[in-house]
Each structure stands twice: as structure tokens, then as C-alpha cells.
């Protein structure tokens, strides 16, 4: 029996009858081909599947909507995808302004459900992203400025640890310091420590009024100064600059809140900055641009940046690099189009991102790259030895058998 057949045989036993095993055309996870997906029917089955994988020395990459699979280092091993799509229950308490959703619930469905009662889901990821995926990836979008990052939205989680135990942390109330804040540890951990089974989320009231406005393209320095000012308006909940790093840059602002406040700020933007009203879908287009895989052979980097360092950060990038800057969120995305996926191009892109990061807060991560470009590199960029040591100590304790995406996370590069 081949190694592949042996692994498939072992996978068939994982989790028992409540875990569906689906064979499909191979899916590439950074060049690792995976042709099997495990779909547990409930949380208990998810736990059994993870224990079963561990007992058999197998490894899986958790997947929800499959929207954030390009994040992370090239895994050391993948025997199967572990899909949460069947954990899609939604509970909503309109009077409380909170909801609970299974990891596999799609954001679009949840948005629609809470929107009917006047609430807004403050996670800014695409409609087809899953709740678990958006949390595990700590997904951000332009509206994250107003929503707050996913860490502030998650009230409580049910997760299955890499060692197989089903556990709860946090709660369903909006204020809570009971025990360690494990929801924050799991949010953004990309399933490296545990797989999210369900989440309690804090909702926001849907704003009475919202307006999107375009800021005309201007030379880089001028555009940055205006965007920073726009991002600080009382009603600003999103603000972005787009263009090439060498400039000029065009802007997009979304104002939301009480009508009087939105109209006042919109009038100021029009008067002082020549802003023009834009379509309601402008922000969705921005988010799509942020998530788009640069083609062909492109690479996308995320570089955290303080407002006063935006200019220097962009100046450190190749002038032709496509950039998307969220001044209020303190993030910059830079896309590099490579001529080919060869190593030298990737090397230059990493060097440029590192130079840009040095002009700002120091850190960066590569969020999308051809498989060859990831090989042998830590896409999370340089991290302090102490931080890596802590990440490894946590991985060893939460996932001692290395079941969950071994090698994918920061400091765990294979």
C-alpha cells in the first residue's frame, strides 16, 4: 500500500461516522496538494476528528470559507483539510446586541440575519468568508477602522484545542475579565493552536446614515496629509488611499453615524478636499482589492504603519508597487507584480517590504505569494526571539502533536 493510500485509510477512521470524508480534486495549500476534506457534523465530531488525527500522526489545515488559505507559511505536512462548514448554527439576541454563530456560518448570512433587526456585524471580510475563518485570520477590511479589529468583536469562543479537548473561553456578555483572555490569543492565530467551533460576537447598531466619498488623486505627500485628516473626522469609519507607491494617490472615505454628523463631515470633505460622493459599493470594491491575489506571480505584503510614517514607508517601496493604505487603521498593503515566481524576484520583494517596515513600525508579513516564494521563508517577517519562543511554547502546549497546520504559523516555519 502506498503512503498516500495508507494515509487515506487512516483518515477514513478519523472521527467515526459523524465526520464526513470527502475526496476531491487536489487543492493546493502553498504547493502542498490535498485531496481529502474532513467535515465534522458537530463540535463533538470536530474534537474526535482532531484527536483521531493526532493519534495517527496526521495533520490538517482548518478551513471555513477558504477565504484566507493563502495566509501563513508553507505547511510542513497536510493530510487533509478540516472543514467547519457544517457548524453553521446562528443564534441572535437582538435586544442584547450579541449573536452566536458556528464557525462555518458565512458572514453574508449572518449580516443579513442581524441586519433585519437593525444591527451590523462588525467583521469586515467578504460575505463568503466564514465566521471561524474571519476570526482565525483576524481579517480586516476598510471598515475595521470603525468596527474595531476582530479581537474587539469576539466576546467568547468555543474551540477544540490541537490536543483534542473541547473548551470554552470568554462569554456572551459585553464586558468580561473572568480568567485569561484566551479569545484574543485564538483570534488571529490561524488555527495553529485550536480550531474555532463557534463564537459569541458583539454587534453594532446599524448607523442611521452612511456616505462614501472619493478624494481626487493628488501627489503622495498631499494625499497622505488629507487622508489622515479625513480618517480623523468624528464620523469616519473607513478611509483608504490607493495608487502606486510613488504616487499620485486617490482616496476613499466612508462616513457613518448620526445624519447631522455625517452631512457636516461630508460637506467639509467636499469643501476642503474636493471630495465627490461615491457609490455605496466603493468600500466593498476596496476590500476586494485588498484581498485580491496579485497576478501573475504577485506578492502582497501587510505593513503596519503609523500615520507620520506613511510617507517614508511608501518612499521605501518600489515606486511601481501597488499600495492600499488605511491611515486610521495604521495598515499599508503593498502588491508586487513579479515577472516570474523565481526566487530572486521574491527575494527583492521581501527586501523591499523589510525596508518599508523599517521606515515604520518594523514588522511586516507576506499575505500572498507563489508557493516557490514561500519556500524556506517565514512570511511573518522578522520577529524578536522572545516572541518566537513564546509562540513555540504555546504551540507545544496547545497542539503538542502538531495536528493543526504544522509549520504554518509565525516562528514555526518548516
Amino acid at each position: 500500500m502506498s503512503a498516500g493510500a495508507a494515509a487515506l485509510g487512516a483518515l477514513a477512521e478519523v472521527g467515526g461516522p459523524d465526520v464526513d470524508l470527502v475526496r476531491h480534486a487536489p487543492v493546493s495549500i502553498d504547493g502542498m496538494q490535498v485531496g481529502v476534506t474532513l467535515r465534522p457534523r458537530d463540535g463533538e465530531a470536530l474534537a474526535r476528528a482532531i484527536r483521531g488525527l493526532g493519534e495517527r500522526g496526521l495533520a490538517a489545515v482548518p478551513i471555513g470559507g477558504g477565504r484566507h488559505l493563502e495566509l501563513g507559511n508553507r505547511p510542513r505536512r497536510v493530510d487533509a483539510l478540516l472543514c467547519t462548514s457544517r457548524l453553521a448554527r446562528i443564534e441572535f439576541e437582538p435586544a442584547e446586541g450579541v449573536c452566536s454563530a458556528g464557525a462555518g456560518a458565512r458572514l453574508g448570512a449572518l449580516r443579513e440575519r442581524v441586519g433585519r433587526e437593525g444591527w451590523e456585524l462588525p467583521l469586515d471580510a467578504p460575505d463568503d468568508a466564514s465566521v471561524g475563518g474571519a476570526i482565525a485570520a483576524a481579517a480586516v477590511g476598510p471598515r475595521t477602522q470603525g468596527f474595531g479589529p476582530p479581537r474587539d468583536v469576539v466576546l467568547g469562543l468555543e474551540v477544540v484545542l490541537g490536543s483534542g479537548e473541547r473548551t470554552r473561553c470568554g462569554g456572551r456578555v459585553v464586558k468580561n475579565v473572568t480568567g485569561y483572555d484566551l479569545p484574543k490569543l485564538y483570534t488571529g492565530s490561524q488555527g495553529a493552536l485550536a480550531v474555532i467551533e463557534s463564537a459569541w460576537l458583539r454587534l453594532r447598531p446599524r448607523p442611521a446614515c452612511a456616505r462614501a466619498l472619493d478624494l481626487p488623486a493628488r501627489p503622495r505627500g498631499d494625499a497622505i496629509a488629507r487622508a489622515v485628516a479625513a480618517s480623523r473626522l468624528p464620523s469616519a469609519r473607513a478611509c483608504a488611499l490607493v495608487g502606486e507607491a510613488g504616487g499620485p494617490l486617490a482616496g476613499c472615505v466612508e462616513l457613518a453615524g448620526a445624519e447631522a454628523s455625517v452631512l457636516r463631515d461630508a460637506a467639509w470633505l467636499a469643501r476642503e478636499h474636493g471630495a465627490k460622493e461615491s457609490g455605496a459599493d466603493a468600500l466593498d470594491a476596496l476590500r476586494a482589492a485588498q484581498h485580491a491575489t496579485p497576478a501573475p506571480h504577485g506578492m502582497r505584503f501587510r505593513i503596519p504603519v503609523l500615520p507620520t510614517a506613511i510617507e517614508a514607508t511608501l518612499a521605501a517601496l518600489p515606486p511601481e508597487a501597488r499600495v492600499l493604505v488605511y491611515p486610521g487603521l495604521r495598515l499599508c498593503y503593498a502588491n508586487f507584480a513579479l515577472a516570474s515566481p523565481d526566487d530572486s524576484g521574491a527575494e527583492r520583494a521581501f527586501a523591499s517590504a523589510a525596508a518599508a517596515a523599517r521606515a515604520s513600525a518594523g514588522s511586516f508579513r507576506c499575505e500572498s505569494a507563489p508557493p516557490a516564494a514561500k519556500r524556506g521563508r517565514d512570511v511573518f517577517g522578522p520577529a524578536a526571539a522572545g516572541e518566537i519562543a513564546l509562540a513555540r511554547a504555546l504551540k507545544a502546549r496547545f497542539d503538542p502533536r502538531g495536528v493543526l497546520s504544522p509549520g504554518r504559523f509565525a516562528g514555526d516555519v518548516g
Binding site: A95, E165, C169, V173, G179, R330, S363
Partner: protein, 478 residues
């Protein structure tokens, strides 16, 4: 043990190490006087490297240590294990930088919360988390407890405002976690450390977000016949999509105490409850929001609604809330400030249940609470010298926690678990849930020397895990 004291003195100088029993006495408890612990020494570092030296000295001798700020905590989190060392950070009180353009400040842990807002004020900025003790409590203590306050409803608690930490780990190593942008490439270790009650290390520099002062503020005081109708107003305000900066309720018993004290705010003694609503934000939006709140309060049964005309009147309204704890001092020698959270829709029934518990135990119990967050603060006035009353206080406290958990709530919203509630963690969490927390703790502190005996119900003291530590508690003072 004189070796340990010599090492502590070498780390910070003899004049910054206290060892005499009469000096140590005041460090036996924090703001919650029900729990005490007797430290062997208290050391006062001023610099990060001194904290490292102190931690290494404790570790070398297998002696547990606990970081401490102003000691205003209310869950016994800053107590030393008996025979342990208190690393008192209040002299690390420098604001290291304040960048108004990027709206970021870096402070040592001993900076007083209100001092940071004061320093930011000329720049039109402030530090948003505002615990009631903000005139005394330190940023380091706030980080340890993930402190909240009346304005948490809109602005969030400490963890929403801490961007990065310089942390001395329990083995004395120094790590930088997070960044001034608030983003890190890897795990959110800042999020894990904030609120960890000093068990994962000692923060020696804290990078925080500064927020712009709101353009306008309106404060409204609504008088209700009872707590139920005041809670109904809170639900209506939240349900209407308004996000006030604060929504605070003061009950009849508290009103009586406040009005009889120097904090008297002119509240009607026949009121069943008072609701304070603070709205802030864009000046043009406030009149509309104010009108809406007035309307909702009236619909919920408010007999009178007053709007503060100026800063003095705003201060008077807040005296009813902020003076409550001080006013309780008139009622009895001791005050147990409880802390729990329930879903906001369950507030009215839980408050009724809490009062019934107090009455059943024959206790003086009153309520002031962050209603917008569902965060209760039942206050029990008592005299600890009466052993029977003390027993009833503790029994009532346990019943209140069980009631809140039963209603879907949690056992602390802002005070932390500390020594006070570690044995109640089982009300909310099962063994596997708690074991996950232990894994986090062990990743930072495998030897269990950093503030042992707090937060988790089965403490793993140094003495249990480190053979060299055995018997330290039997070594007499010098």
C-alpha cells in the same frame, strides 16, 4: 534567605527594599481587605533592568513574586504569597513619550491613570479607560486587570487601548510584544497578557492609544420610581441604536447613603433609582441624541429628566455615582464591592435577586452599576469584626455570583479574579477550559513563580514545582 534580601538590595539599593514587619504591613492587602498575604520584602524598582534583576533574584531563590501598582485592585490580585516578594512599580512613574500626531504614548507602569490623561489634554487627547480609582491607580495595574470604568460602554476597557508591551518574563528575560500600530505579525500576545493579573510577567513599558477629546458632551440624569424601569430605559436606549459614553444606575439604597454624605448630589430621597446617561461625540449630533434619550427615559417611566447645564452640574450628577463608594464608608467599617456581569436584558430581575439575597442574609446591600454593560456592583457594608456577619457576607457573595452565572453572565467584569474569586471559576468553566488557561500560564511561567495563587482555582505554587522553594515560608524574618 538573607541571600535573597542581599540580592534584592543589590538590584535596587538597600533604601528601596522594605523588610521590617511594620513596613510590610500595608502591603498585606489591596483594595479588597478580605484577603491578605504577608510578603517577605517589598522592592521598588525605577527601571526595567531593576525589575529584571529583582525577578532573577526571586527566581534564583525559588521565591514567588507579585507585581503591584497603587494597590487599588479589588480582587486581592496584588497580594504576595506568604513569604513572597512584592515588586512595587509605583516609582516607575515616567511618561516616556507622548506622540500627539500619532496619538500614542509610552509610559512606565507606575504612571497614574489620570496623570496620563492630564498630560494628553493640551493636545486635545485623553486616555480613555477610566476606572473609578483613576486618580490613584496605575497604568501597570490597569494592564494587569484589564480595567474598565463608566466609559467602557463606548470606549472599551484597557485591552482596547494597549498597543504594545515591554514585559519582563517570569524568568527575567525581556520581550517586546505588539507594536505602536497595534498590529503584530504573529500571535496577539499583548491581548493575552492584558488582564492576566500579573501572572505572565511584569509590564515595564506600556504603549497606549490616546483618543481625541469628544467635540461635545451632554450628561443627563433621569429619576425613576424603581430599578426595573431604569433598566427598561437602558434596554430601550441600547435597542434604539444609541451608544452613550456611559449608562450608570444608582439604586435607592445608594442614593440614601450618598445624600447623607459629603457627596450629596441633591437627588430625591424618594427616587427608586437614578440613571445617568452621558452622550459624547460630534456636537451637531448631540441635540438629536439627547432628545431621543429624554423620550426613551420618559417612555420607560422616568418621573424627571435633568440635563446638565454646565460642567459644575455634570460634576454634581457624577457625584451621585462616583461618590457612592466613599459614602458607603459612613454605613459600616468595611465595604465589599462586588463585581459581576449579566446580559443587559436580565439586569432588572438579577438586581431584584441580588437585593433579595442581601435581605435574606440580613445585610446592608446597595447597588451602583454600569448598566449599559450589564456590569453589576452590589456593595455590601459590614463589620468584619463580627464573624457571623463576615460569614453572611461571603455566603451572599457566593450566591450573587451563582445567580449571575445562572442568568448567562460572568463572575467579574472589571475587578478580576485574583485571590477573591479563583474558587468560583468552576461556576463558569469546566476542567478542560481551565486547563487551557493553565497551558497559557505555563507557556509564560513554567515554574509558577509569578503571582501564584491567583486567577486559577488550583494554584501551582513555586513550592510545589520547584524543590528549592520548599520550606521558604518557614524561614523567619531577619
Amino acid at each position: 534567605m538573607s541571600d535573597l534580601l542581599a540580592a534584592l538590595r543589590a538590584a535596587v539599593g538597600a533604601e528601596r527594599v522594605l523588610t521590617r514587619p511594620e513596613e510590610l504591613f500595608v502591603y498585606e492587602c489591596d483594595g479588597l481587605t478580605l484577603h491578605t498575604g504577608s510578603p517577605r520584602a517589598v522592592a521598588f524598582p525605577r527601571e526595567t533592568h531593576e525589575v529584571q534583576a529583582l525577578v532573577r533574584a526571586c527566581r534564583a531563590h525559588g521565591v514567588p513574586f507579585v507585581p503591584r501598582g497603587a494597590g487599588t485592585g479589588l480582587s486581592g490580585g496584588a497580594l504576595a504569597a506568604d513569604g513572597g516578594v512584592v515588586i512595587e512599580c509605583s516609582r516607575m512613574d515616567r511618561i516616556l513619550s507622548l506622540d500627539a500626531e500619532d496619538r500614542v504614548a509610552v509610559v512606565q507602569p507606575g504612571v497614574i491613570n489620570a496623570a496620563l490623561s492630564k498630560a494628553a489634554l493640551p493636545h486635545g487627547l485623553f486616555y480613555a479607560p477610566d476606572p473609578s480609582s483613576q486618580l490613584a491607580c496605575t497604568i501597570g495595574g490597569n494592564v494587569a486587570e484589564n480595567s474598565g470604568g463608566p466609559h467602557t460602554l463606548k470606549y472599551g476597557a484597557t485591552s482596547n487601548h494597549v498597543l504594545a508591551l515591554e514585559l519582563v518574563l517570569p524568568d527575567g528575560e525581556l520581550v517586546e510584544l505588539g507594536s505602536a500600530t497595534g498590529w503584530s505579525a504573529g500571535l496577539d500576545l499583548v491581548g493575552a497578557v492584558v488582564g492576566s493579573e500579573g501572572t505572565l510577567g511584569i509590564a515595564t513599558a506600556v504603549t497606549v492609544r490616546l483618543s481625541p477629546l469628544p467635540e461635545g458632551v451632554e450628561t443627563l440624569l433621569a429619576i425613576f420610581p424603581d430599578v426595573v424601569s431604569a433598566c427598561r430605559a437602558v434596554g430601550a436606549i441600547i435597542g434604539a441604536g444609541l451608544v452613550p459614553a456611559a449608562l450608570e444606575i444608582v439604586d435607592r439604597r445608594t442614593i440614601a447613603a450618598v445624600e447623607a454624605s459629603v457627596y450629596a448630589a441633591g437627588l430625591p430621597l424618594d427616587a427608586g433609582a437614578v440613571l445617568i446617561v452621558e452622550l459624547d461625540g460630534a456636537a451637531v449630533a448631540l441635540p438629536g441624541e439627547l432628545a431621543r434619550v429624554r423620550e426613551l427615559a420618559a417612555e420607560a417611566g422616568a418621573s424627571r429628566v435633568e440635563v446638565a447645564r454646565d460642567a459644575d452640574e455634570r460634576a454634581r450628577f457624577w457625584r451621585a455615582r462616583k461618590g457612592a463608594f466613599g459614602a458607603m464608608g459612613r454605613l459600616a467599617p468595611d465595604l465589599y464591592v462586588h463585581d459581576a456581569v449579566v446580559p443587559r436584558t436580565r439586569l432588572a430581575e438579577v438586581i431584584a435577586g441580588v437585593c433579595a439575597i442581601g435581605d435574606r442574609h440580613g445585610l446592608t446591600l446597595s447597588n451602583v452599576f454600569h448598566a449599559g454593560d450589564g456590569n453589576l456592583h452590589p456593595n455590601i457594608s459590614f463589620d468584619r469584626r463580627d464573624p457571623d456577619e463576615l460569614r453572611r457576607v461571603l455566603a451572599a457573595g457566593a450566591e450573587i455570583l451563582a445567580l449571575c452565572v445562572e442568568a448567562g453572565g460572568v463572575i467579574t467584569g472589571e475587578h478580576g479574579i485574583g485571590a477573591e474569586k479563583r474558587d468560583f471559576m468552576g461556576l463558569l468553566f469546566g476542567d478542560d477550559d481551565l486547563d487551557a488557561m493553565r497551558r497559557l500560564r505555563a507557556a509564560f511561567d513554567p515554574q509558577g513563580c509569578c503571582n501564584p495563587g491567583k486567577l486559577l482555582p488550583t494554584p501551582r505554587f513555586c513550592a510545589e514545582s520547584n524543590p528549592r522553594a520548599r520550606g521558604y515560608d518557614r524561614v523567619p524574618f531577619e
